[in-house]
């Protein structure tokens, strides 16, 4: 297994190289050059040239790329054009906030999905199965940013029960484990969990249904095992498939929380990315995208390795 992990890690190198190339290209997709976009229009040309030289935008593209790659690899993501603070620092603190929200949404979504999906697969009555499939359909079809607004309308505007925005009371910028902060988390967590809830419920239901129709289940029943013991076997067989989808969903949650973070003004990577786009702060855009993509890659790698551990039958080339 260690060998497999190592091989996968080596295989990741060219992909990571491609990712860095794409992220670097992001800056040059932008119309105009990165400096002229942010300085006042009456800035003298000498100042613009000085700034370009300072940020290295005056060199040819391949040189810029190699320089950027080397500097980035050493852990220096540059400085934010908007705030002048190091990008690594800004992305780091935002990433923590995003992670907290993503973890709580994952916990909620995955627990519910496993319970619902298993119930539906086992359900003898069609009504239960219909109900669960409808919940799953709702999850994959609802525009989650709209659901976020609806939640704010119901629970903040109409009922006044929960705060509509922010990570904590009094313009807090970081999370703490206490009731006022948890209150701020409730609505964003629900809004963020609907998509993974829908996708996971579908996956769990169909996987378990498929396994239940396999011969080994009949064999176990014939041996006289009770339902609870058989459920353990079924869950164990469903685990690899579900784990893979879970990993993908968790990654998408972290990368895709931008809309929810914007609605709730949650100071995470998505919110940072959004404000960077509108300030045309390209170093932040690059840094955030790069960090999130690498996290996503590592997450997928981890899930793949865990999968082979859970189910040794999976043979990897």
């Amino acid at each position: 297994m260690l060998l497999y992990a190592l091989r996968r890690l080596i295989y990741l190198v060219p992909v990571a190289f491609g990712v860095s190339l794409l992220v670097f290209a992001l800056v040059h997709l932008a119309p105009g050059d990165p400096i002229s976009a942010i300085v006042p229009p009456d800035t003298p040309k000498e100042v613009i040239d000085k700034l370009k030289e300072y940020y290295g935008f005056d060199k040819p593209l391949p040189v810029q790329y190699v320089r950027w790659l080397l500097v980035t690899l050493s852990g220096d993501f540059g400085t934010s054009i908007g705030t002048g603070r190091p990008v690594a620092q800004e992305v780091g603190s935002a990433f923590g906030n995003t992670l907290i929200l993503a973890i709580s949404a994952c916990l909620l979504a995955f627990t519910l999905a496993i319970v619902l999906g298993t119930t539906a697969a086992y359900a003898k009555s069609r009504a239960v199965d219909r109900l669960v499939t409808s919940i799953a359909l709702f999850g994959v079809s609802v525009p989650h940013f709209w659901l976020a607004i609806v939640l704010v309308i119901i629970f903040s505007v109409e009922l006044g029960m929960l705060p509509p925005m922010g990570i904590g009371p009094e313009n807090a910028t970081s999370w703490r484990l206490d009731w006022p902060h948890i209150r701020h988390m409730i609505l964003p967590t629900i809004a963020l969990s609907v998509i993974p809830l829908g996708v996971m419920t579908r996956t769990v239901r169909s996987t378990i249904k498929e396994i239940l129709s396999m011969e080994f289940v009949t064999a176990l029943q014939a041996k006289g095992m009770n339902d609870r013991q058989i459920l353990l076997h079924v869950l164990k067989n469903a685990a690899p498939v579900c784990l893979a989808v879970m990993g993908l969903q968790a990654g998408n949650l972290i990368g895709g929380s931008i809309l929810i973070e914007t609605v709730f003004s949650w100071p995470g990577t998505g919110f940072l990315l959004n404000s960077a786009i509108f300030r045309r702060d390209l170093p932040i855009l690059q840094g955030t995208t790069l960090v999130l993509a690498f996290f996503f890659m590592m997450l997928n790698l981890t899930v793949d390795v865990i999968q082979t551990f859970v189910d040794p039958r999976i043979k990897r080339a």
Partner: protein
């Protein structure tokens, strides 16, 4: 039976398995018969047809001008006289804007999938049929795009390129090419291994004939079904980009953008502010159900 590792695509892990030979004419007839007997798919189809038709014929329906603003009649509630669904934050008729909004919202959702289908399927079928180095080259490039969460890729691309409908279309197309390509590749690789392809080659069929008759005939169904399942994701994503201010620019009526500009009104007229989202929701749920029905009717294994 060993459990295969699922392929990783946008949304659920959907591995598409190839059904029996589908070239026979009877296949499509039986598909359409099964579709006609499926009430859910039928109803969704009718709702979608209504939304599309009203969006297309909007200028001739005698609706109020969706651009005409008025400072006096802002945020009228739903059911006001002359304004069936009230007015928005600039006094424009909501009903008219919701109908007109379908034009851009549907276009921005469907177009990227169509483009991605053309490009992605071509790449995927090529990779699957040629195999070897060509396959390696194409699929490794796709892997790079797979290293990004799809929403992040869409937002970073259109964020870097700047706001505007064209950039959103481009960004979404890029986002959807890799999953279509991956599905096409895996289906084609499967079909290529079937005996009838070998038989066709042995009986002297050229590469072009084999691809056109034997591969395309068996591969297009599953790819098409997969692509329809992407439409609802694309509609939500496109609306999301507009919601962030990265898509269509005001004052164009578009559901995502309307949801954004109406956010300031949630304290004044909350139900009105949520209306554009209802349209997105209905459309996406209908596309999802249609895609499920199509998959069942075409007997494609999900």
């Amino acid at each position: 039976m060993a459990i295969q590792s699922p392929s990783l695509e946008i949304g659920a892990g959907v591995g598409v398995a190839v059904g029996p030979v589908v070239v026979a004419r009877g296949y499509w007839q039986s598909v359409s018969r099964r579709l006609r007997r499926d009430p859910v798919t039928l109803i969704c189809g009718i709702i979608l047809l209504l939304i599309v038709a009203s969006a297309l014929t909007a200028p001739w329906l005698g609706l109020a001008d969706p651009y005409k603003t008025s400072m006096i009649r802002r945020l009228y509630p739903i059911g006001s006289p002359n304004y069936l669904l009230g007015t928005d934050e600039l006094g424009r008729d909501m009903f008219s804007r919701l109908i007109y909004g379908g034009r851009l919202s549907l276009f921005m959702g469907v177009m990227p999938v169509v483009c991605a289908l053309l490009i992605g399927a071509t790449l995927g079928i090529t990779a699957g049929f040629m195999g070897g180095r060509v396959n390696m080259a194409i699929m490794r490039v796709m892997d790079v795009f797979y290293a990004f969460p799809s929403v992040l890729l869409a937002i970073s691309l259109s964020g870097a390129m700047g706001a505007g409908a064209e950039n959103t279309l481009l960004a979404l197309t890029i986002v959807f090419i890799p999953p279509v390509c991956r599905v096409s590749e895996s289906v084609t690789t499967q079909v290529r291994g079937f005996d009838f392809v070998e038989a066709a080659r042995a009986s002297g069929a050229g590469t072009f004939t084999i691809v056109r008759v034997h591969v395309l005939g068996n591969v297009l169904g599953p790819i098409l079904v997969y692509a329809t399942s992407l439409i609802s994701v694309a509609i939500i994503l496109a609306a999301g980009l507009s919601f962030l201010g990265l898509g269509v620019k005001p004052p164009e009526p578009e559901w995502g953008l309307m949801l954004n500009t109406l956010r300031q009104a949630i304290y004044v007229n909350p139900v009105l502010a949520a209306l554009p989202g209802v349209m997105i929701f209905i459309t996406s749920i209908c596309f999802n159900l249609m895609s499920d029905g199509l998959r069942a009717a075409m007997d494609v294994k999900a």
